[in-house]
């Protein structure tokens, strides 16, 4: 069972006939709700690493991209750069029962609360509801 602040990895699944790769997300809200007539019970933002220094510089120009890094660096298969960011203006709506995921950890509460404060002040957002 997951809760607010947790980081989860959603397993591969098929969207409109295409198999999409495994991605990591931070849970923002885990209460039931409805969007466009569809029920959801979890809302989250996606987490990304940087493809390189150029990508990092480009992404960090946007205040909505929250820079983060793991406390323990020894957590990935390769020696990839584990610095990354949370894409804070893009919201994924899922239904827990229809989603295969694993909880792998959490975001520190001080960073999480700063993220929420930023989101509450956004003017425009992007919704992803095709998983419902």
């Amino acid at each position: 069972m997951c809760k607010v602040g947790d980081i989860i990895v959603v397993e591969k699944y098929i969207d409109e006939g295409k198999t999409l790769s495994r991605h990591s997300f931070v849970i923002l809200n885990d209460e039931t709700g409805e969007i466009k007539g569809l029920d959801y019970d979890i809302v989250y933002n996606v987490i990304s690493t940087f493809k390189g220094e150029e990508h990092k510089a480009k992404k960090l120009k946007y205040p909505g991209n929250f820079p983060i890094e793991p406390e323990d660096k020894n957590i990935a298969n390769s020696k990839m750069n584990l610095e990354g960011y949370i894409k804070a203006n893009q919201f994924y709506y899922f239904n827990k029962q229809k989603t295969k995921y694993v909880v792998i950890g959490n975001l520190r509460s001080d960073v999480f609360n700063a993220l929420i404060e930023y989101i509450h002040n956004l003017e425009k957002i992007r919704d992803v509801t095709c998983n419902l």
Binding site: K3, V4, I7, V9, D15, E16, K18, L20, R22, H23, S24, L28, N29, E31, V43, V46, I47, S48, T49, H55, F66, P67, I68, E69, P70, E71, D72, N74, I75, A76, N77, L82, E83, G84, K87, Q90, F91, V102, V103, I104, G105, N106, L107, R108, S109, D110, V111, F112, N113, A114, I116, I119, L122, K124, I125, R126, D127, V128, C130, N131
Partner: protein
């Protein structure tokens, strides 16, 4: 101030400190009413992930043997 009052005052201060610790660890969930009041556009899952580079987690992380904690970065 007598001893009883001093003790009571110290206890209150300690309780306040504990409250502060609890407050600091509290996760304030996203307020969905605020979120739904914003101008929004709907995009596909694929489109939303086109510039996202996923992390290749180790087997220890994916199996739950090793927990990941993210902090802020500069």
């Amino acid at each position: 101030m007598n001893k009883r009052m001093k003790k009571k005052k110290l206890k209150s201060k300690g309780e306040n400190n504990m409250d502060a610790v609890v407050m600091n660890n509290k996760y304030n969930p996203l307020n969905m009413k605020i979120l739904r009041s914003k101008e929004s556009t709907t995009i596909s899952y694929e489109e939303s992930l086109e510039d996202i580079e996923p992390i290749d987690w180790s087997d220890e992380v994916l199996s739950g043997k090793q927990k990941v904690t993210f902090k802020g970065s500069k």
